[in-house]
């Protein structure tokens, strides 16, 4: 067994599922043993303890400490420790307390365990019972293909994970942490500079906290308390979590500048939710790219702070024949993948009108700033019958007297009305 392979400790609480908030508290406490803590069905804690063995002096010592701590909170855990997540979980559910360091040992201990500890649905259990399968050993002796067909490949995969034949990853439970701090202003004020200076002091305290915890913050809540007890709230959100408070200062300046205060301010409150994991800094092979993206996310934040959240968008194609639905705005353009898509749906204008504009007609021909000359077309688009919003149109590229190329269509469902839909250019 290599020293880097995982070792999972499961603390099963037979007293029944607990409140989610209680489990989160317990997980937060258990994070003192290892950062790799996760919660299973609000009834078990799973700890990946390989990296903590040396610090605490072996798996038995961790088990003892964990048991003492849970006892103190009034819980009676069954603790089992094996190389796989599910192995530990199944043994603990079966009430078997043991410490197994190799997969072979685990396999021997798992074979006689009853299938009822797998936690599978009742229908599956009934089928197993009908087949006369009572133990995990009988389960894994069944032909794999037949098992997958009968019970689904997911169940087979669970068995493989339990016996250590395929790896299992668990997302560690992230312990949320909050920052809250207040600053009493020496005098009541509505002056933006004074307020900003106050917030800067709070932000520098937040920055120290972020640094010491190696944490980052994504959203910030700023309360400005007035003498009569009311308060004005500002919410600031970054495109991506920042590990330093400097990212917030400029945004706060913009927001405070645009703020109309109903009364002077006496007290400032700054709240933030911290998340673990520092932001990536441009120090790897892709350093240049990361740096450019962080410049861009900073720019987008400034634009959003002044122009509004919806003022900044990206563009994407949608697989849809109806021209007005063939695209969509992207609210988080940085999050989209960078695949260069080049499948163009045909000759299309670069501008589109939000609503097609009905064109005047002269002698049966459409007119827009002079008679239109139809240069290319028709391209018939007839679709959408399935959702009741069907269209039947003949599209043309037209040119008007001034030389502007327009995208017009003739609606074939109504009495041959002409509409302007887009502009080339």
């Amino acid at each position: 067994m290599s020293s880097s392979s995982p070792l999972w400790l499961c603390a099963w609480l037979p007293a029944g599922p607990l409140e989610a908030i209680v489990m989160e508290q317990l997980a937060g406490w258990a994070a003192g043993f290892t950062p790799g803590v996760s919660i299973e069905a609000d009834q078990a804690l799973l700890l990946e303890i390989r990296g903590s063995l040396q610090l605490f002096g072996g798996p038995e010592r961790i088990q003892t400490l964990l048991r003492q701590g849970l006892h103190a909170c009034g819980h009676e855990p069954v603790i089992s420790c094996t190389p796989t997540v599910r192995g530990s979980l199944w043994l603990a559910r079966a009430g078997i307390e043991c410490t197994l360091l190799t997969r072979d040992e685990l396999r021997h201990r798992l074979l006689p365990v009853s299938v009822e500890h797998l936690g599978w649905p009742a229908a599956t259990m009934k089928m197993l019972a009908q087949m006369g399968i009572r133990t995990l050993g009988e389960c894994v002796r069944l032909p794999r293909q037949g098992f997958a067909r009968r019970f689904g490949p997911a169940r087979l995969h669970e068995l493989d994970q339990g016996f250590g034949r395929s790896p299992e990853l668990r997302r560690p439970h992230v312990v949320p942490e909050h920052f809250a701090d207040t600053l009493e202003l020496p005098v009541e004020t509505t002056c933006v500079d004074a307020l900003l200076a106050g917030f800067q002091r709070l932000l520098s305290r937040l920055g120290e906290r972020l640094k010491s915890r190696q944490a980052s913050a994504e959203t910030l809540q700023c309360d400005l308390r007035h003498p009569d007890g009311s308060h004005t709230e500002l919410h600031i959100r970054l495109c991506r979590p920042a590990a330093s408070a400097a990212a917030f200062t400029e945004l706060l300046r913009l927001r405070l500048g645009a703020l109309v205060l109903p009364a002077p301010v006496t007290l400032l409150v700054l709240k933030a939710r911290l998340s673990t994991g520092q932001e990536a800094t441009g120090s790897d092979l892709l350093g240049r790219e990361l740096q450019a993206d962080s410049d861009l996310s900073g720019l987008l934040e400034r634009l959003r702070a002044r122009l509004g959240r919806h003022a900044v968008r990206g563009l994407a194609l949608v697989d849809e024949y109806r021209p007005e639905r063939a695209w969509r705005p992207v609210s988080n353009p940085l999050g989209t993948n960078r695949r260069v898509s080049r499948q163009a749906p045909g000759c299309r204008p670069v501008w589109i009108l939000p609503v097609p504009q009905l064109l005047q007609r002269a002698a049966g021909q459409p007119v827009h700033d002079g008679a239109l000359c139809l240069e290319r077309g028709p391209e018939r688009i007839e679709t959408g019958w399935w959702d009741g919003d069907d269209i039947r149109r003949d599209y043309y590229v037209a040119r008007n007297r001034r030389g502007v190329r327009l995208w017009v269509y003739q609606d074939l469902r109504s009495v041959a009305n002409w509409y302007l839909h887009g502009i080339f250019g």
């Binding site: 900073g298 400034r302 589109i352």
Partner: protein, 174 residues
């Protein structure tokens, strides 16, 4: 055109006639090259600030642009377009910036011009033809004339060029 392509590191001012014009058709080859990249440059971001209509994604894609690198900024008041352009120029995060703006004070234009000179960014300010008489610090000033008739061609009049001589170029659009 222009003896070696569009200049970067300086503000370009493009004047258009009121109403629908062909400015995006003229600029799209550069936008395509910037967003898709080529053997010598990586794909980069471009920003369209305060466009007069909705930029139509299938149409931009038809022109060859990589949509995943296009940002569109809407503004509520005309002054915000210049502010957004200034912010984008200052950040250096976009390789191409096109802004549609109306009136612009000398000071605002001067600031844009100075910022544009600091980085190799392709920045184009699009304004109405009636502003031609106003003095502007832009490095390159152009006016777009549509050609009535059947040909898909426009005339680009270069009436101020700090780098080369002025003149008129006829461009056939795709």
């Amino acid at each position: 055109m222009l003896g070696g392509g569009w200049p970067t590191g300086g503000l370009t001012e493009l004047l258009i006639e009121a109403g629908a014009s062909a400015e995006l058709g003229l600029l799209s080859p550069v936008l395509t090259r910037l967003t898709c990249g080529d053997a010598t440059v990586d794909p980069a971001w471009v920003m369209l600030i305060a466009p007069p209509w909705i930029p139509y994604a299938p149409g931009l894609c038809w022109q060859g642009l990589a949509l995943s690198r296009v940002l569109v900024i809407d503004v509520r008041q005309a002054a915000d377009a210049l502010w957004a352009m200034e912010a984008a120029l200052g950040s250096g995060a976009c390789a191409g910036i096109i802004a549609w703006a109306g009136t612009a004070g000398r000071v605002a234009l001067q600031r844009l011009h100075l910022l544009a000179g600091k980085r190799p960014v392709w920045s184009v300010l699009i304004r109405a033809a009636r502003f031609r008489r106003e003095r502007s610090p832009a490095m390159l000033r152009l006016q777009l004339h549509l050609q009535p008739g059947m040909q898909a061609a426009v005339c680009v009049e270069i009436f101020k060029n700090r780098l080369r001589a002025a003149g008129t170029v006829r461009v056939v659009l795709p």
